[in-house]
């Protein structure tokens, strides 16, 4: 197998994967439609984190905060304050709130580096967790919200999409994921995207060449926050609920885990990781008595033996094969 054919495999797989997603509901496996949709939401969440971890070199351990902000904005606007249940109001509100809050938090956390950054992002996420857990004005409680309706999508008097319909909801999520992946692809290939990847490799060099490193990192932090907020919004809409668990540090750890399983800094890594993570969890829950034990062992083994994630396996196998030939 030479390099030319190998390079063409990944785009082919990606196209096959996208077509598979579009055709999946035709199989008529109702229960799995919902599961796949949930995985796609987590995939978007993981890909948004990859912008930070894989492309900017910022290991955030508090990414669940933005997921939760997106989810809570829908719950607050539609149910708690009953301001609006229109998609045209709640979705932009969720994205703007994620952007504003991640901008403010970013101003603080980006002053720190390395392990300190890991811990400070965790601490800020905990602050958000306690806010939605304890503050009554924003519906603070352990149980969070049960939502009774999905947002309406009206154009004039006519309903454009009926999100209560499972098929429509599924394609809405698939469509959102495709558009987001396309936007992220464009961002990564823009001069800005090149610059943040340069910052990951060598921050001081980028600064000495004249890039405003702090502002670029802040922009990356905010963009990642917006996409995570979008994922959280979809999650609340799809699952009819929002609760403090969405902001817990377990969620932040889970999404990091998806990335490391799929491959950090690989465009499809977050998507692959989300699928592998959820399927592993489902399989362990269905077929073993102690799913946490097996999941934990899998994580330990994955970290020790496949440091680059699943998306690096083809390159590693090839490398191994070449060494044997030589």
């Amino acid at each position: 197998m030479n390099i030319k054919t190998r390079l063409k495999i990944e785009p082919l797989l990606a196209v096959a994967f996208c077509i598979g997603l579009l055709l999946f509901p035709m199989l008529g496996l109702d229960f799995y439609d919902e599961m796949v949709a949930r995985i796609l939401i987590l995939a978007l969440f993981a890909v948004s984190l990859d912008l930070l971890v894989g492309y900017t070199g910022l290991v955030s351990f508090g990414h669940a905060a933005w997921f939760g902000v997106g989810a809570y904005m829908y719950a607050l606007l539609s149910t708690h304050y009953q301001i609006s249940d229109s998609l045209w109001v709640t979705l932009p509100a969720a994205l703007i709130m994620s952007a504003v809050l991640s901008f403010i938090v970013g101003l603080f956390v980006l002053r720190t580096k390395g392990v300190y950054f890991i811990m400070v992002t965790l601490a800020f996420a905990q602050v958000f967790y306690f806010l939605v857990h304890d503050v009554p004005a924003i519906g603070g409680s352990t149980d969070g919200f049960n939502l009774y309706a999905r947002p309406t999508v009206m154009v004039g008097e006519k309903s454009l999409l009926d999100l209560e319909d499972p098929f429509t909801m599924y394609y809405f999520i698939v469509g959102t994921l495709f558009i987001s992946m396309l936007l992220i692809w464009i961002i990564l290939r823009s001069p800005f995207g090149r610059a943040i990847q340069g910052i990951k490799v060598n921050e001081h060099r980028m600064a000495s060449v004249g890039f405003p490193v702090f502002r670029y990192k802040l922009a990356s932090f905010v963009i990642a926050g917006i996409f995570a907020g979008l994922a959280g919004y979809l999650f609340a809409v799809q699952s009819y609920g929002a609760n403090p668990e969405l902001l817990s540090w377990h969620k932040s750890a889970d999404v990091l885990l998806m990335l490391i399983l799929g491959g950090i800094g690989k465009f499809w890594g977050g998507v692959v990781g989300a699928f592998v993570f959820v399927l592993l969890k489902e399989v362990f829950m269905a077929y073993t008595d102690w799913w946490q034990l097996w999941l934990g062992l899998t994580i330990v083994m994955a970290v020790l033996f496949i440091p680059g994630g699943i998306m690096s396996l083809s390159a590693r196998i090839k490398h191994f094969a070449e060494k044997r030939h030589a």
């Binding site: 290991v59 720190t112 800020f124 102690w290 934990g296 994580i299 970290v303 020790l304 440091p307």
Partner: protein
């Protein structure tokens, strides 16, 4: 608030702070010497409490249980260092975080398999099971004073170990420059294993000591984990004395915060951390 209850809160704060220090000192030593970020540290605390519960039941004596539990957890620490963590020293922090996250899941499930998910209590040893009167109506449990004194003794022991012994000077050498220490003939892998098992034993010891004063419950490891991380970060990673100072600050703020401002007490810890880091991005005692 009158003087008596103020005194009780102050004693509570001191006791909580010292306990926090036992947990955080191991964490900061492990980080300082080996550069490993280990989020399973809270599980060692939980493990200790369950050792105290199980071994007290088996031996019938709390102190024998604590002694056996400390040895057992030091052995577990040495094993984990040998089998897992020693392979991660050169890897990045993210992988260390994830590996230890996997360990948290494993420890929680093992606890659930062997001991179950119920909340347990450990009896206070009979000769400590009394209260000391403070003022006219208030009393303070003697066991809590005993805990504080033991923690204080261990803190002093740790000081002597690090400042006055040969092992201590190797640990300090490892913290400031482990490559150089290795070149100069320090057996760094032995030092690493010792420090790791010492850290695990300290956290487990804290769990065992706290078992008679609080309930032994499944979520207890998670509760202390994040707080002890905050302590380590505020104190400056690798600085044992920074951890001591930060433990006391956090414990005082949390204890008095939950009396005076109960609604925001949960956040107080994190607000303090954010403020300290804005003032000094690498903690109070930067190494």
């Amino acid at each position: 608030m009158d003087l008596g209850s103020l005194l009780i809160q102050a004693l509570n704060a001191a006791q909580y702070g010292l306990l926090l220090f036992l947990i955080a000192s191991g964490l900061t030593l492990i980080f300082g010497v080996m550069g490993v970020i280990n989020i399973a540290h809270g599980s060692f605390y939980m493990m200790g409490a369950y050792f105290a519960f199980t071994l007290t039941g088996l031996t019938g004596n709390f102190f024998i249980a604590v002694f056996l539990g400390a040895i057992l957890s030091a052995l577990i620490g040495a094993f984990l260092e040998w089998a897992l963590f020693s392979h991660l020293y050169k890897r990045d922090h993210l992988e260390q975080v994830l590996l230890s996250y996997g360990l948290i899941l494993i420890f929680e499930e093992l606890r659930s398999i062997f001991v179950g998910d119920e909340v347990h209590a450990v009896a206070v040893p009979a000769w400590l099971n009394f209260s000391i009167p403070l003022g006219d109506i208030m009393t303070y449990p003697a066991y809590r004073l005993f805990m504080s004194s033991v923690c204080l003794l261990i803190a002093i022991g740790l000081y002597v170990l690090i400042r006055r012994t040969r092992l201590g000077s190797m640990i300090r050498a490892g913290t400031s420059n482990s490559g150089m220490a290795k070149i100069l003939g320090v057996n760094t892998s032995l030092v690493n294993r010792t420090v790791f098992s010492l850290g695990v034993a300290l956290a487990a010891f804290a769990g065992m000591l706290n078992a008679p004063a609080a309930a032994v419950s499944p979520g207890m490891g998670m509760e202390v984990l994040i707080v002890s991380f905050v302590v380590v970060v505020i104190g400056g990673i690798g600085s044992v004395w920074g951890a001591l100072l930060a433990s006391m600050v956090i414990a005082t703020a949390v204890t008095f915060g939950s009396v005076f401002f109960p609604s925001v007490a949960g956040m107080l810890t994190y607000v303090i951390m954010a403020m300290v880091l804005l003032w000094r991005p690498e903690g109070i005692f930067k190494q």
